[in-house]
Symmetry: C3
Subunit: 436 residues, 3 copies
C-alpha cells in the first residue's frame, strides 16, 4: 500500500462529509453492548465494508468475565397522573437507563426518584447512564424537568428484554504482504452519542474502505466491538492471534474541535508511539502526546500486562475532558466533517509511516559514496541532506523513522532518500531476522 498515494487520489472534502453522513445515519439507533441496535449498526457498516459479524453466546467465559445476557428494547416511558408521557424513549434513547430490566408499574414520586438520573450542573442536558452488570431499571432526564415533577403517582413502562442471547461484534481482516497485523479498534456500543463512539466507528469504516482498495504491507484487522466486554471477548477467543499484532490504534472521539491527542501504548516506545509522535510533531498543528495510564477505552484491555500489545489511542479532546461527554449534548452538533477529516488524514499519515518504516544497511559504509557520479549531488539542499542522513545512519541500528527523528525532518524526505539510494544500490533493506 502506498497510503500517501491513496491520500492524493482522494477528494478530501468528500471523506469528511461522508464520515459525517454515516454518523448522522447511525445516530438515532439505540445501541448497547448487546442486542439488535448493535446488529443494525453493523448491517449499515456492511454497506461500506465487508464486515464479518460474530455472535458470542451469553454465558461464554471470557477470562475473568462472562458474556452478559442480551438486551433489547422496544419502548419506554413515564406517564404522570394525568396520563401524559413526560419521559419518552421515542424522543431520545438516552432517556432510558441502558440495560434497564423490563418494568411496568405505578410508583410514587419517591420511588420514581430512586430510578431517575440527572445532571444538576447542566440542567438542560440528559445524561447517558448504563447498568450492564447490576440489574436495575431507570430513566435519565434533564435536571430542569426533574425539578418540575410534582407529588402523585407515575406509571412507568420499560418494554425491554434481558435474556440469554449473544454479544455481537464486527470484524474485517485485510490480508497484507506480511502476516504481521495492524489492529484498528473502536467501540460501537453507545446509543445516540456522536463523538464518543460514532466518530471512531465512522473513521474506522472509511479507513477500512480506503485500505482495502490497494495493496499494503501489513495485514489490517478492524474491530467494531462493544466497549470493554467486546475487547475482552475478542482477546479471549483470539488469544493466539495477538502475536501477529505489531501495531494498533484505538479510535474514538475523533470528531470534535479539540486538538489531536495521542495516548501512548503501555510500552511507551513502540513503533506506533514513535510514528504517532512523529506525525503529530511534524504536522505543525497543536497536539498532545500523553503517557499510557490504565483507564480510558479498550487500550485498557489490549495493554493489560498479560498482553501488553503495542496499541495506542487517537482522539481529539480526551474523554471526560469535554463537558458534553456522556450526555445528550454529544450530538450531531459536536462533531464536524472538517475535524473528522483531519483525524482521518492524521491516522493515514501514521499508517503511512508504519507501512514504509524499514531498516537499511549502507552498502558503502566506509567514507561517503560519490553522489556526483550518480547524479545525486546538487548543492547542499534539503534533499541531499536527507541522502547523507540516510547513508550515515543506515547502520543496522536505526530505522528510517529513527533517522528522521535524528535529522529532525519529516519521515517522507528520509523515506524518499532511502528509496533513491536503494535504486543506486547504495542501501539495501534488511530485517532483524537477517542478522540471526
Amino acid at each position: 500500500m502506498n497510503i500517501s498515494e491513496l491520500k492524493n487520489s482522494m477528494d478530501p472534502k468528500n471523506v469528511g462529509r461522508e464520515m459525517y453522513a454515516l454518523i448522522t445515519e447511525l445516530y438515532p439507533i439505540c445501541r448497547s453492548i448487546t442486542g439488535n441496535g448493535f446488529r443494525q449498526t453493523m448491517e449499515i457498516l456492511r454497506r461500506y465494508i465487508p464486515l464479518q459479524i460474530h455472535e458470542v453466546p451469553s454465558g461464554t467465559k471470557v477470562f475473568d468475565w462472562e458474556v452478559p445476557k442480551e438486551w433489547n428494547i422496544k419502548d419506554a416511558w413515564v406517564k404522570n397522573s394525568k396520563g401524559e408521557k413526560i419521559i419518552d424513549f421515542q424522543k431520545s434513547n438516552l432517556h432510558v437507563l441502558n440495560y434497564s430490566t423490563p418494568v411496568k408499574k405505578t410508583v410514587s414520586l419517591k420511588e420514581l426518584k430512586e430510578h431517575l438520573f440527572t445532571l444538576p450542573d447542566h440542567p438542560d442536558w440528559i445524561p447517558y447512564k448504563t447498568s450492564y452488570y447490576r440489574e436495575n431499571w431507570g430513566f435519565c432526564l434533564s435536571h430542569q424537568q426533574f425539578l418540575t415533577l410534582g407529588d402523585g403517582e407515575y406509571e412507568v413502562s420499560i418494554d425491554s428484554t434481558l435474556e440469554s442471547g449473544c454479544l455481537t461484534y464486527g470484524e474485517l481482516y485485510l490480508q497484507g504482504e506480511e502476516e504481521n497485523e495492524i489492529l484498528i479498534s473502536c467501540h460501537a456500543c453507545h446509543p445516540s452519542l456522536a463523538n464518543d463512539n460514532l466518530s471512531g466507528v465512522s473513521l474506522a469504516t472509511f479507513l477500512a474502505k480506503q485500505i482495502s482498495s490497494g495493496s499494503h504491507r501489513y495485514a489490517y484487522r478492524f474491530l467494531f466491538i462493544p466497549g470493554t466486554i467486546g475487547a475482552i471477548t475478542w482477546l479471549a477467543i483470539n488469544e493466539e492471534k495477538t502475536a501477529k499484532i505489531k501495531h494498533g490504534l484505538v479510535l474514538t472521539g475523533v470528531g470534535d474541535s479539540g486538538k489531536i491527542t495521542y495516548k501512548k501504548s503501555r510500552r511507551g516506545d513502540s513503533d506506533i508511539d514513535r510514528a504517532a509522535t512523529h506525525v503529530l510533531k511534524h504536522s505543525g498543528e497543536p497536539h498532545e502526546i500523553i503517557d499510557f495510564h490504565p483507564y480510558g477505552y479498550d487500550e485498557r484491555q489490549y495493554c493489560s500486562p498479560g498482553f501488553n500489545l503495542p496499541v495506542g489511542r487517537l482522539s481529539r479532546t480526551p474523554y471526560g475532558k469535554y463537558p458534553e461527554y456522556h450526555t445528550s449534548k454529544d450530538n450531531l452538533g459536536l462533531v464536524h466533517s472538517e475535524f473528522l477529516e483531519d483525524s482521518f488524514y492524521k491516522v493515514l499519515a501514521i499508517l503511512n509511516v508504519l507501512e514504509n518504516n524499514r531498516s537499511y544497511l549502507n552498502l558503502n559504509s566506509k567514507c561517503e559514496p560519490q553522489l556526483g557520479k550518480r547524479g545525486l549531488y546538487s548543492s547542499i539542499g534539503a534533499n541531499e541532506l536527507a541522502l547523507l542522513w540516510a547513508l550515515n545512519y543506515s547502520d543496522g541500528r536505526h530505522d528510517l523513522l529513527g533517522i528522521a527523528e535524528k535529522a529532525e525532518v519529516g519521515f517522507n524526505s528520509v523515506q524518499e532518500a532511502a528509496a533513491l539510494l536503494s535504486k543506486h544500490n547504495l542501501l539495501q533493506e534488511y530485517r532483524e531476522t537477517d542478522l540471526i
Copy 2:
C-alpha cells in the same frame, strides 16, 4: 510494624515536646568523640531505649585509622593578672578546644593568643573547635572579649586527661520479621550544640522507642556514635553485618526551622532515595533533594566505595549553610519542638514506605478483572484508579513505590489498593527470589 498506625496512635504534640525536653537535658554535657560525656549521654538515652553500650580500646586498628586516646575534662579556665577568671569552662563547655591536652601555666598574651579561637564575623559568638588528631590545647571565646584582652600574664588551666581508654558508642538492634536491616545512625560527640548533634540523637531515640513498641518487617539498627571515627570503628568491627543493611539514614540537624533536605546515597537510586524523594515530594511542603557528594556526616563512611551502602541523610538546613553551625548560637533557641516533630514524622513516613513497599504479580493479567462482581467498582474515583494502576503494573518489574511514582499518587493509595486486590486474590506478593 504498621508505622502509619503507630503515627495515628501518637499524640503529635507530645513527641515534639519530649524530643525537645531530651535535648534540653543533654545540652549541658561536655561530649567528645571519647570519654565520660559521651558515656553519660548514653546512660540518659538508656532511660528511653535499651541501648547496648560498646567500649572499644584506644589503639584498636580500624581500617586506615586507630581508636584515639580517651579524653576527659573536669575544668578549664583562664585568669588574668588580677586573678579573675575571664574564660570559664563551667559557663560553656565550648570555651575549651575539644580534646585539649592538660595544661597549667602562666603565659604571655602573645603565647595565649596562639591558643585562642574566635569568630570575627560573629563577634558575640563562641566557636566550637576540636583538635582530635593533633595534640594541642586552646580556648574558644567571643571575638568581642578577645579584643579586650590587655597585655600582661595569664594563668591558663585545663584539667583534662588524654590517656589510653575507650571509644564508647551505643547500639540498639531491633529484630524484624526479616533479617534485612534498616540502619539509623547519628553522631553524639558534640558538646553543647543543639541542632548539630542533639536533634538527631533525640529524633533517633524517640524513633527507636516507637519502632520497638510494635512489630516490623525490617530489623532496625540504631547507632549513636562519635562522628567519623565512630562510623569507621563500627564498620571495621561489623563488616560482615553490612550485607544485611538494605536501607539507611543518617539523622542530624533536624530541629531548625529550615526546609527538609534529603541527601541521596551514593547509589542515587536506592530504595531509601526513592522513598525519601517520594515522601518529600508528596508532603506538599518545601524540601530539597540533593545528590550525594563525598563530604558531610557519617554517610561519607557508609557510602565510601568499598561499602557503598544505600544510606542517605536527612537534615533540615544542611550543615555549614546556617551561620549558627558549630558556634554557641547552635543552642536551645535554634531548635523547636514543632520542627523536631515534623522531621520525626517525615522519617516515619519514609520508613512506612520502605516497610510496605513490595512487589506483586497480577494473577489475572490478561485483560482487566471484573471489579464489579467483587464489589470493587464504584464510579471512576481516586480509589478505583489506584486499583487499576496496581493491577496494570504488578508485572514483576514494578514495586508499589514504582507504581505510585508512575501514577503520580501517594504511596498509601497504591498500598491500600494492593492490599484490597490481594484480599480478592487478584494480586500475589512475590519476591525477586521467587523468580530465581
Copy 3:
C-alpha cells in the same frame, strides 16, 4: 607530555601573531585539491614541522571514489572587445572557477554569462566556486561588475592543465608513550580563503610544533589534506591504522571572532566529546556544543558508519553561518591573532584533558583514609574536596574526567588530587585491560 606546562612556557602573544603571519604568507597561493599550489603550501609548512609529503597518483581507487586528475594553473583572464582585462586571475585567484579546464576563445556575452558566477546578495564580493568532478570552465566576479558587462565579444583565456598527476597531502606522525593516536586533521585545499582553511592549517602547524617539542602519552598524527577526497584517500590507504585512533579533531574556521563551537563525533559520548565539552563549559566563555550531523568538513568521512571514529570538529562560527564563507571577504581581515590564539589554547586544553585522563582504583576503599596523618587535611577547602571526590569515585567505573563532571569542578583540580593521592599510595592507576 604535560601540555599545561608547555602552555605556561609559551609566550601567548607570539603564538597568535605567528599563526597570523603564517596565514598571511599562505594566503596568496592558488591551492586546489591537487597541484602545485597545494605542494607549495606543504613546503612552507615544512619550515615549521617535518611534514612527510605523500603523492597519490591520479586514478587510484579510494573506496567509491578515484583520485582525480591533477590541476595546475598559470593564468586566466577575460578581455573585453577593447582588449582590456576585465577579470584577472593575477588580482585574485578566486576569479577562476577552481579546477577550470583550459580554454582560449572568443565568446559572446551570452555564452560568457553561462560561465560566470556572482553573489547578487553581496554585490561587492567575489564568490569561491569549484568544479572538481564535472569538467567545466568559468570565472567568478562581483555582481556589481557583472551588471556592467555590455554586449559584444569577450576573449577568455584559462592557462590551466588538468592531467594525470598526483594528489598531494602532508602527514606528520609524532610517536607517543602509547601506540594509541590522536588525529588532528585540517583541509588545505582552498585558495585565498583565510578562515575556512588557512586558520585550521596554521593552528595545526603550531600545535604540531608544540607537541613535538616534548614527550606525550599519545602518538599524534597530523593530516594536511585536500577536503573530502584527501580524507577518503588517507582512510583508504591507511585503513589498518584507524584502529589506533582513540581521539580526533578536525580543525577549521578557528580564526574569526565568533564563539567557539564544538561538533560532537558521531558516537556522541566519546572521550573527545566529553573532554571538549568539559573544557568549553569550564572556560567560562560563550561556546556552543552541537550534535553530530553528516555534513560539514572531513568529520563526514572519519565518522562515516564504516569507520565511526571518535573525531569531533572544533571551529568558531560554523561554516555557512557567516556571510563571508566561501567569498573574497574570507580574507586576512576576517581572522585575528587573538582569536587564533584563543582557539589554539582551547585545543591545547582539550588535549591536556585527554593526555591526563586516567582511571584509578582507591586502595583504601573501605571508609575514608585518614588524610590528617599524611598531612593532606587542612580545613575543608577546594583541594580537600577534590581529594574526597577522587577517593570516593576511583572505583574503576569513573575516570578523572568523569569525576570532575560529577564534582562539577575543573579537570585540573581532580587531576592534581589524584596525583597527590597516588604519591601517598592511596590511589593506583589502572587500565581496563587490568581487569581482563
